[in-house]
């Protein structure tokens, strides 16, 4: 029997699935098995839209369509967690399998704490993630740094510290990520600072790190992270849709090294970004200056996996005078107060900001400070957040207005 903590090399039994998918197509095979066996009602995954720079979320109920989501797209900067809340009723009445990056998984946990999604109904297939690149910047990078027409690129990957492209005439070209990022290209700022590279809070954590020997490139490294994950793996193997081998001990070691190197890189970027913000008054001044160009598009709120209130405080006229552009600074202060203890650094507030405000950087910097002070790490388990001081009566009412909320026991 498979158990939590076990590690495997896994690949799809089906040759077509192996071909289409990345690293032997294990994730595609697992999703297909979960859906066709009735373990879940639907799969929420990402497929290629107009080209490799266009990632589109798709809800699949026909197993035959899962093939569309095979392979990876590093220029997709989507966060799937909030879609589950917004458009799939929080998976309350539907069992859904979702391939998740670290930020997707963290977002789902934070929403689950707030009773906005039902994790019991969600099967998370974790994907190791070294970061993603915004699509338009990726095209510019390929044109200017690689000297290649971005429309001629058929595949891109991030491997061994390089961003690698494959052109339609079969040529490979790679440039070191460090070099690209020094020049303002490469991964998004939040991805650079990210330290959730192997999402072990998912049910399975899958990736190519640590696959060595004759299986290199032909199998996926799978770490079993929960009983649900173990059951899926077991069932997929029993049904003959997935093949596994024990992970090579040397491979396990290499995987650990890769992960550690990525975490160190994350620390390096955090230091650099946070130091750039300055301290105390200087930091406040920078935040006030940058947010002064806000046009109040609400993208930071609408795309934030922590924001869920039915009655948003930023829309209370006694807190934030409505209709003003730029909005009073209180608009941003409310966000810092409400989000920062739970910010998962998914970067959506910055990725979608119409005015180039480094929202994610500001919030993440606060979160890291709060984590040091209170020891709470968001997005990894169901531990409740440390909330800022609140008026209990008002806060109870506000939370009650959202329907039901598990954060009530902060007053106990």
């Amino acid at each position: 029997m498979v158990a939590k903590g076990d590690t495997f090399y896994a690949w799809a039994a089906d040759a077509a699935c192996q071909e289409r998918g990345e690293c032997g197509g294990a994730v595609t095979a697992l999703l297909t098995h979960a859906l066709s066996s009735g373990m879940v009602d639907a799969v929420l995954a990402v497929k290629k839209g107009q080209d490799i720079y266009d990632a589109v979320p798709t809800l699949i109920t026909d197993p035959a369509e899962i093939a569309q989501t095979s392979g990876s797209l590093h220029c997709g900067t989507l966060l799937l967690s909030k879609l589950v809340k917004e458009f799939l009723d929080g998976a309350k009445d539907m069992r859904i399998a979702i391939p998740v990056k670290g930020c997707d998984a963290m977002g789902l946990y934070e929403l689950a704490k707030r009773n906005q999604v039902n994790l019991d109904n969600i099967l998370m297939i974790g994907l190791n993630c070294g970061g993603s690149v915004s699509p338009v910047l990726a095209r510019k990078m390929i044109r200017e740094k690689f000297g290649v027409d971005p429309d001629d690129v058929v595949k891109e990957e991030i491997d061994k510290g390089q961003f690698i492209i494959v052109t339609k005439d079969g040529q490979h070209k790679g440039i070191s990520m460090d070099e690209l990022e020094e020049e303002g290209f490469g991964r998004r700022g939040n991805c650079r600072r990210c330290k959730m590279k192997v999402p072990r809070q998912a049910d399975l954590a899958c990736g190519n790190w640590g696959v060595i020997g004759d299986k290199a490139g032909k199998a996926t490294f799978v770490e079993v992270c929960s009983e649900k994950g173990a059951n899926l793996l077991d069932a997929a193997v029993k049904a003959g849709s997935l093949k596994t081998d024990a992970a090579n001990p040397k491979g396990i070691e290499i995987r650990g090294k890769v992960e550690n190197a990525m975490l160190k890189l994350g620390d390096k970027w955090r230091k650099r970004y946070f130091e750039g913000l300055g301290e105390g008054k200087d930091r406040l001044k920078k935040i006030m200056n940058d947010t002064s160009r806000c046009i109040k598009c609400y993208a930071c709120i609408e795309n934030c996996p922590i924001c869920y209130c039915v009655e948003c405080s930023t829309k209370k006229s006694y807190l934030v005078e409505p209709g003003q552009v730029p909005p009073p600074f209180m608009f941003h202060l409310i966000r810092y107060a409400h989000i920062s203890d739970s910010c998962i650094n998914c970067g959506q507030c910055e990725e979608h900001c119409a005015m180039e405000i480094p929202n994610s950087l500001f919030m993440h910097a606060l979160q890291v400070d709060l984590q040091e002070m209170f020891g709470h790490t968001p997005g990894v388990d169901m531990e409740l957040p440390v909330l800022a001081l609140v008026e209990e009566k008002t806060e109870r009412k506000r939370l009650a207005d959202t329907g039901s909320d598990q954060i009530f026991n902060i007053f106990e």
Binding site: Q50, F87, P135, Y298, V325, M355
Partner: protein, 688 residues
């Protein structure tokens, strides 16, 4: 459960942002970012964030309505078509006028143009471009031979100096505002001249407020300073421009010395000199303007002056430069391109040109011919003709426009529309204009249709259908085609889908000739001119040569003239109008979007604290504002962000309609009204 993303382009301003509509079980339930768009990279303004909110509003029109005894009665399409066809047939060609729409697709504007000129054989077709950028089309065509924004949106971010005059870019073209911000973050300088300290102005390195209507004086002054200091691009003016000597003579005259223009405009001489230096010495300088330049009786003069400045400094046909006329509506560029103007067919082919006239008559194949090869009436002139010469125009077909709120001097517009014998309005809501109609036809909104629209940077992009229209509502192209068939012209309107119409447009329009749906379906789409199917499109115009037949740019020597109506003892305040970020024009969509309505539920008048003090009025107090045309009551917003002596109102709100006050004085060439300057008085309301 079925959940899908439908990528489409925004129905609001002319920036051309894309987003995804989220469709759940056949209904639009939300919007989500589309990060692959080269224009906005998934980012949108508040109108974009909440662009789904009005789509399934209970107020949507779902059935044709026929007015009987002053009341609307629901009707079948057959009844409506029969009534309209019999009425339309009863009028002579030039008794009919059509208003096309900057809100609907290129295909549908083309079709209404074909309907007016082919089925009705009338010369009279226009649309609301008349009210926003008619002076751009005329002015830039005179200067460069092409009446459109010269550069692309992405290009603005590369400029070393951005000069914004008469545009509140952050609120009116927010994602172009982002490009302005990027230019600034890249080290470029930002100059904003505006009567109000707008959100755009607040980001400026140099801001100055000025009296509305003094633009030519300001621009001439800047040019004079540039020439006096030798900052002009000598090669450009000597090899690429005509008319430099005449221009030089005017701008160097004493009238336009900074010290004198300070008195005219209210901008300190030192600021004028600084601006001239930055514009004159920067490696590249982009000029952005919008309605602050165009909506004047001297709109065409203003536009030509912006072109003069950019030619003088060699910023035409160059990255990071250009005259960036920011078009207002989502498809106002396209509606003009499609010939929904009284003087041109598609691609600005002149109606009066015998060859062009024959080309369209032959291509369309109406057995009984098309309209005369003569120019028709502009919308502003139509309204004057209706009131001043009763019986000349008798019937009107309005698609997706709301002149009862958008046009100047609303009492006059009401009088004009009441003078019609028969009015058909096709829209998605029962607008103020639709309420005056004899027949109302329910149309599909942007989320319910395919088709193309052309953004301000001449980029032709796709709309994609996300859900079915409500009830019996139909897409505009279907309505026009069915009505044409009912009038006996089924053969000329044989379309099975909207793509067939685009194919016809491309065939008769040189600047769209190389476009197909397949090519436009790429996220980058195509900028016109795109003459062949291999042509990559043209993001920047006038590189190497301008679009005039001789390739030269034309400089125009222009003297400043004051607005048609200036403050006097009786009406002591200069009144100017505009918009806010939360609402779109007449509010029919945005005021039905709960989030946007909650931000700004009604209108206001901006008053400088000193003026407020003199009048004895407080912030948020209801006051009475009167011009020579009418009176409204509106709440004040007392703010130092507006110049003393100047008052501002947004025009979105029917209950306090700024256009009751505005002046229907027209630019003599473009026939654009002077929305940006008239005289008003403001009174405290005292209880009787």
């Amino acid at each position: 459960m079925e959940l899908k993303y439908v990528q489409t382009t925004c129905p609001y301003c002319g920036t051309g942002c894309s987003f995804n509509l989220v469709v759940k079980d056949g209904k639009v339930v939300g919007t989500q970012p589309y990060t692959r768009s080269p224009v906005n990279e998934g980012k949108v303004c508040p109108k974009g964030t909440y662009a789904h909110e009005f789509v399934n509003s209970p107020d949507r029109l779902t059935k044709p309505l026929i007015k009987k005894d002053g009341k609307f009665v629901e009707a079948t399409w057959d009844e409506a078509y029969d009534l309209i066809a019999s009425k339309f047939k009863s009028y002579k060609p030039d008794e009919f006028a059509a208003l096309a729409s900057a809100r609907v697709s290129n295909e549908e504007n083309y079709l209404l143009m074909k309907f007016a000129r082919g089925v009705m054989k009338s010369r009279h077709i226009d649309h609301c471009a008349r009210l926003c950028h008619a002076s751009t089309v005329a002015g830039l065509a005179a200067s460069f031979g092409s009446g459109a924004m010269t550069n692309s949106i992405l290009d603005i971010a590369e400029s070393k100096c951005v000069f914004v005059i008469g545009s509140n870019t952050f609120e009116q073209h927010p994602l172009i505002g982002r490009k302005v911000m990027q230019a600034k973050l890249n080290g470029g300088k930002l100059i904003v001249f505006d009567p109000r300290l707008t959100p755009t102005a607040k980001q400026a390195d140099l801001y100055a407020s000025f009296y509305s209507g003094t633009d030519v004086a300001i621009l001439n002054c800047l040019m004079g300073e540039i020439i006096r200091n030798g900052w002009e691009d000598k090669e450009w003016v000597s090899t690429r421009a005509k008319g430099y000597e005449e221009l030089k003579k005017v701008v160097l005259s004493d009238t336009y010395l900074p010290e004198n223009v300070e008195k005219i405009s209210g901008i300190a001489a030192a600021d004028l000199k600084t601006a001239a230096e930055w514009i004159g010495t920067s490696e590249s300088s982009a000029l952005l303007y919008s309605m602050g330049i165009t909506q004047h009786t001297v709109g065409v003069d203003n536009v030509k002056s912006t072109a003069n400045l950019q030619m003088l400094t060699g910023n035409i046909g160059k990255r990071g430069g250009g005259v960036n006329a920011l078009r207002g509506q989502n498809n106002v560029q396209g509606a003009c391109d499609m010939g929904a103007l009284p003087v041109v067919f598609t691609g600005y082919q002149k109606v009066t040109d015998a060859a062009a006239h024959k080309k369209f008559a032959d291509a369309w194949g109406f057995p009984d011919g098309i309209c005369e090869p003569k120019n028709g009436y502009e919308v502003t002139v139509m309204m004057d003709v209706l009131t001043d010469n009763p019986g000349e125009l008798k019937c009107m077909y309005i698609m997706g426009e709301n002149p009862m709120l958008s046009d100047p001097d609303l009492n006059h517009v009401k009088h004009a529309l009441e003078s019609l014998e028969f009015l058909v309005v096709q829209d998605i809501f029962l607008t103020e204009t639709a309420e005056m109609a004899d027949v109302v036809l329910p149309a599909a909104c942007y989320a319910e249709r395919d088709g193309t629209q052309t953004s301000t940077e001449r980029r032709v992009q796709m709309w994609r259908k996300a859900q079915n229209p409500p009830g019996e509502a139909k897409e505009d192209w279907q309505i026009i085609s069915e009505l044409a068939a009912r009038m006996g012209y089924a053969k000329q309107f044989p379309y099975q889908n909207i793509e067939e119409i685009f194919t016809e447009v491309a065939a008769v329009t040189p600047s769209y000739h190389g476009m197909t749906y397949e090519r436009l379906n790429r996220p980058e789409a195509l900028h016109w001119p795109c003459p062949t199917t291999e042509h990559p499109g043209t993001p920047i115009l006038h590189i190497g040569k301008c679009s005039h037949p001789d390739g030269m740019g034309v400089m125009h020597a222009i003297e400043w003239k004051p607005p048609a109506e200036v403050p006097d003892d009786e009406y002591p305040y200069l009144f100017t109008t505009g918009r806010c970020i939360w609402h779109w024009h007449t509010g029919s969509m945005t005021r039905r979007s709960a989030t946007l309505d909650a931000e700004v539920p009604t209108g206001w008048i901006e008053i400088n604290p000193e003026d407020a003090k003199a009048l004895g009025i407080q912030n948020k107090e209801m006051v009475r504002v009167t011009s020579r045309r009418g009176t409204i009551d509106v709440a004040t917003k007392v703010t130092p962000d507006i110049k003393k002596g100047v008052m501002f109102m947004p025009f979105h709100f029917a209950e306090c309609a700024a256009n009751i006050l505005t002046h229907n004085a027209l630019d003599p060439i473009a026939k654009i009204p002077e929305f940006k300057a008239c005289a008003v008085k403001v009174e405290k309301i005292t209880e009787a």
